[in-house]
């Protein structure tokens, strides 16, 4: 957030001046972590993972689990790419089939 009095004075954070290429720096396009349905993981366990890793309330965790189960997949978190990579790695650590991608 920029303060009006400081207009013209460059206090822009470094990253605003950095010139980068590629789609991974577009701040308007968040990334997502997806969990895919699989026949082995228990519904109760998937709910438990969403509760314990993300700290989601039981109701939200169960809704996401049911989405995975009935729709084949669910978006379980949204944010910058780096965070989605961390979430994906953690969920794979739990044995869930997690992937990350740009939200389109």
């Amino acid at each position: 957030m920029r303060h009006p009095i400081l207009e013209g004075v460059s206090i822009a954070p470094v990253e605003e001046e950095r010139v980068e290429v590629g789609d991974r720096v577009d701040p308007d396009v968040p990334w997502i972590t997806i969990v895919w349905n699989d026949p082995v993981n228990l519904m109760s366990y998937v709910t438990y993972v969403f509760e314990s890793y993300f700290g989601y309330a039981r109701e939200k965790a169960e809704k996401l689990m049911l989405d995975v189960h009935t729709k084949g997949r669910a978006v379980v978190s949204t944010g910058p790419r780096e965070k989605m990579e961390i979430d994906t790695e953690a969920l794979q650590g739990y044995g869930l089939w997690a992937t990350f991608q740009k939200d389109v």
Partner: protein
Amino acid sequence: MAHGFKRSARERRVVARLDETERTIVVGLMEQVLDLIHPPVQPLAQPEGDTGAGSRDPFEEIVAGLGDVDTSVPAGPDAPDLADVPDTPEELGGRGFGVPAPRDPALDRLFPTADRQDEQAAAEFRRLTEPGLRSRKADNLRLSVTALRGAHRDRVELSEGEASAMLVALTDVRLVLGERLGLRSDEDAARIDELLDDLDRDDPVAYAIAVYDFLTWLQESLVHALSA
């Protein structure tokens, strides 16, 4: 008769009752999965008299991915048309997307591709994360084996940390066994229980299915004990 995991009267501990046979089966499977994800260094030459895989029992061969398991049935008119399922992971990048060379499919299930659109990114993610994931999974398995071996009068007692490790270890064992049994869809999972009714009791595949069901039951009890 096994009793699944329950919260003990002592705060923050969960307890199950598993007899020696049951513990031996679970420990044996955990050690096999441990070998799969953290292979011990093998001597190049087989020792004299060791016939290698041929000396394993049929169930061990199934878990090792060497057994002849065919749980598939011919697709009948009622079989779901896979083409109708949108965006399944298999359609885009499969589970081994970004893996340089074909490898044990159970490893592709334990360490699935994380990016199904960009093979280079998938390979890079795998390169960065797989060593850490393997090491964490191995730690969970070792901790669980130690806890099971420490059972006193069939009583398996776990701290909160051991219980979390056991939960993931049981998941990984079931993922490997499920892969060996050809479980790729929810329909497959329903089908193997029907298959169990048709198989001879002595069939190693029937034994593998029964063990899989036992692990499912055990894990379910542990999740409920921890969620309570």
